[in-house]
Symmetry: D3
Subunit: 243 residues, 6 copies
């Protein structure tokens, strides 16, 4: 089975890190293909960038030339998953939701530890819409930007560990979700420091996507995610258009 794992920003090294992390947990026989958007921001840390990413993900996925079995949208708290579901017949898994639904099998409450404070409301909103917020103890920010995770790995560990401890001790989280596509490396350190299970969204999404494919299940097409009606669309796909 082939799973497309789509980064939401244009930073290639992050795509590679995400794909490597996905491969580390994929079943034998699962091919992980990392995709990088052709346009958008080099990191997504707000709504404008996230809306750009939403379309950039749809653009890069719909122009992917080979067959595939599932798509993982590898951005935490980002827009766009519903659009992909309309355009595709294969299952689509968002890592924000994958982390949350996985964490809910592991503890009574979970927290998300993410990058900048400004992305907290985006994540909260995605969880609310997904109906996965009832057991969310908190979404906490480490104060580090997305790209700082890569450039300052030691500071990243320290900041994520500090917030994870607060989540466990003050917010009564029993599980921590790493709230960014590029945090899988931190799993071990945060787990050691807090003593609770750590869920990386990309890895959780691989397991869920594989499961859906194995069960022969995909997006329902009767209502919300029915294919777009035939109509005149200008400027799409972006990669091939100049408005």
């Amino acid at each position: 089975m082939r799973i497309l794992v789509v980064n939401v920003n244009t930073t290639e090294s992050m795509t590679e890190a995400i794909a490597a992390s996905a491969r580390a947990v994929a079943s034998p026989g699962t091919e992980i293909v990392g995709l990088t958007p052709r346009f958008g921001a080099d990191s997504c840390e707000g709504n404008f960038e996230s809306y750009l990413a939403a379309l950039a993900v749809m653009d890069v996925v719909t122009s992917y030339p080979e067959p595939y079995d599932a798509v993982i949208q590898a951005g935490y708290g980002e827009h766009g998953r519903e659009g992909l579901q309309e355009l595709l017949d294969v299952p689509v898994v968002d890592i924000t939701e994958a982390a949350a639904s996985t964490a809910m099998y592991l503890g009574h409450k979970y927290s998300v530890v993410t990058t900048l404070d400004r992305t907290v409301p985006l994540i909260e909103d995605r969880l609310k819409l997904a109906g996965l917020d009832a057991r969310c103890a908190s979404v906490r920010a480490s104060g580090l930007g997305v790209l700082e995770l890569e450039s300052s790995p030691e500071r990243a560990v320290e900041a994520i560990v500090a917030q994870s401890r607060e989540a466990v001790e003050r917010d009564h989280a029993e599980v921590i979700c790493l709230g960014c596509g590029g945090m899988a490396e931190l799993e071990e350190a945060v787990s050691a420091a807090t003593g609770v299970p750590i869920v990386d969204g990309v890895r959780a999404a691989v397991a869920i996507a594989e499961g859906l494919v194995r069960l022969g299940l995909s997006t329902s097409k009767v209502r919300t995610y029915a294919p777009p009606r035939p109509k005149q669309v200008t400027g799409w796909p972006f990669s091939a258009a100049r408005v």
Copy 2:
């Protein structure tokens, strides 16, 4: 004061109708400027089209060359409002929210009557995120597409009236919101048939936008809607880029 009223689809005649409707209720001294996206679908009836519209609205607004005091996003249940709020310093008013918050001053519960069944979940999700759903009795679909409202005005009236009656009688709505940017014309007929106040989102948004401007209030910039951080963005604005 100048208010940009931005259609979410590429159908010029609908932009004109929306702008005319806005002008009908604007205060003396308020200039209404109708804008049509440069790309996207000729009607928005689902998530993919709505995500396209989100960016197309940001694109056309940010490239508008004159000063303005407020922006109205004239699509019902559409994505994108949060992105606009990050990019702009002036107030942004979404008609889905404008209709709902206005209706809540007029009755204990309100219903929305919209176009196709498939757009119902989009509207429900927008109201939930906006925190304006607690007094929403129902979102009902007339079964008519967006463009059929214009092409078959008589069928439109009939279908909207029928669903509005159901909303009042079965769902106990006391106010009806017309759930599409292009429905203002129906106000009188639906009001006559149901005996309840009818709220058109575009008109409600004009009143709210004027009020915000008059009060000197605009989007808070401390967290969720802070301006995007300086970073490398590829392919934006779309109107000027080829990916």
Copy 3:
């Protein structure tokens, strides 16, 4: 257009301050009439006083001899709005709701900063019933009584600013609502100290009331706010009765 702005307590100087504040934002052509209840408490800081105020407001409004276009109930967290809506044909706007619905256009979450701690639950209850609580980060008390706002303006600024800062920093509010009819004067100081938009309920209510009148909308009469059925009522209106 004429808007009645009704104080909920019997302190004339507060009525005047409220009316002046309303006039400062009213459109040209809008006449603001301040009304003071003929009975009740000189400040409303609890349920008993608020229930008295509810009737006192209905009493003074229904005996107002001239025509008017809208009514603003200028008490924060007070009872009575639903009764006025039954008795009147014109729109009724409560300042608690006006502040909240306005704040929701400006930020992801808002807080209310009010007077005494004992009034916090009243405000929370009003927001819950109004269905405007989902995005309320907190309702905080400054510890100052209603009349102290007038008598100790400096302490008032200090206390309100302190709580507003806490609301922004700890509760993640992005907008502050001034939770008392007589706080409009503080707008500038609190805004300067916190850097977030400040919403005064009276001023917000003026904008909303004007908007409703301009849109030709008023209270739905089909169910909850239908006029009282004809029946024997003893002792009403109070101003004319001795029980």
Copy 4:
């Protein structure tokens, strides 16, 4: 122990019926005193009348000359309970809440069957504020006014039974609350017709009030229901004042 059972309307015969119903379940040694407001409507079927009743109940209770141990506010869905709690040291029990909290010991979901459709939102709002709505399957209206219950007992039985059956069969209620102070007589007939437990609010309130007194518990005075602060109140108590 002496319990004041206060009618919310001015119809003496209803006060007598309510008091008789209360006496039928009171423990030996409990004296039930029925009180009728000195002003207000002869039946409460809306917000204006309910706000009048709120004060009329406070008026008649606070001028009652003898000692008493608890107060029951015998109106369904009415305003005012919180005011009474501020003014009194003894426990206050509202029959809307008493019926609901009792029904919740008897079945998974309960419904309320009341008088006119226009009172449904009042009851829903009271249950929501009381935090007793989560297991409420529905509030249904029989279409009969309060006074018709007395004047047309046969029609009343028929209409209440019909709605109770609907509540059980369609809304999955397992318990029915009789949603009016004057419905206790119907208990047997509705029970026989539906096969589910029927809760009369007045009777439930007697049991709860007796229990609170026996346990030595009364209203907390630390915050919401602290006694009113000393201040200047004009026109109160109404019975002794002319504004």
Copy 5:
């Protein structure tokens, strides 16, 4: 009337203490019978022990040889009440719910102060299912195990008082529920230290059970709590079976 008060653990001395506490508030003519499970843990502080207790309570109640009028399940936050309701015709009152529904008559918000931190989620879950959580300010743990309450009464008072004060001051609780079957002794000390009403679940349950019996009300049998269908059950009742 005879009420069975069933301890959830096998510690006889706790059964006696619970029964004595119940007798202290029972009406004249009410006989309190304390029952101790024949199997299970000597204290319930988690889900496994609570599930054991659930069956042990059903076992000891259904094999009780004399008639009785009501059953009180005297464990805080424990499983099993719904099973008892299916098996019995008399009312069943759980002390977690009894404390909460009683507290809701006394203040705007209540808190529960319990034993170990690990039991907090059990209590929260029970309150959520019971639909009694909306006005719960917090569930706080004293850090003492169930049996330490008896063995270290002084430490118990200190720890419970400390958490109760926090609940009142930080969480804005106006009433404290003692969150364990064996805490009734602490009522006076906690009340003196906090100035708010203290509700003991066992005592509250006695009042509620007596009230239900006096009103002639018992569990609805139409759906959720209908008697088990006739079928083959192996190993039940446990007291008489070897699997």
Copy 6:
């Protein structure tokens, strides 16, 4: 990897059917072991039977002599999962939750179609506690008992299809969960009749359990699901005890 799939009733043929269904979707290398409780009811259709099953499942799992990697509790809407989580170090997956969390990846809303009407509230309660109810459109009963599914397969298909259609058409479900451990056989027929994805809880649970094991994740032990404290437990395990 070895996964224990535990039936909740004592009917061996149902255990076999469940295990076969699990095997049909298990990955190569996954061994499915079906376990049947040693005591309890031959079908679980209510709370008493479900509480028995809760312990019977813990009994049969904890006395299983070989190592295993995960446990699936194969009863829909049953009690007990939290107890298993305390007793075990491996992940525990409940099929009610597995079906729901899987369905949420496939459509905007899902419905559950189950056996008898009396089990509907149990399922609703389990979903509420699991925090997976926000996107549940309805839980519907086919009216057939658990064992009738096996004995009358044609009637079962007909009844389940009928309710599934209602769920899609009236409740706007986009996905159907088969609400009983023994319904996997119906998947194809219901899918064909409704055109929406059908989720069988057992199969979904296999995919989720495999995923958790592959990700190296298991139950958090810091709070709610910490192992039981050492204490005196009488009569456990049941299989080895006579009380």
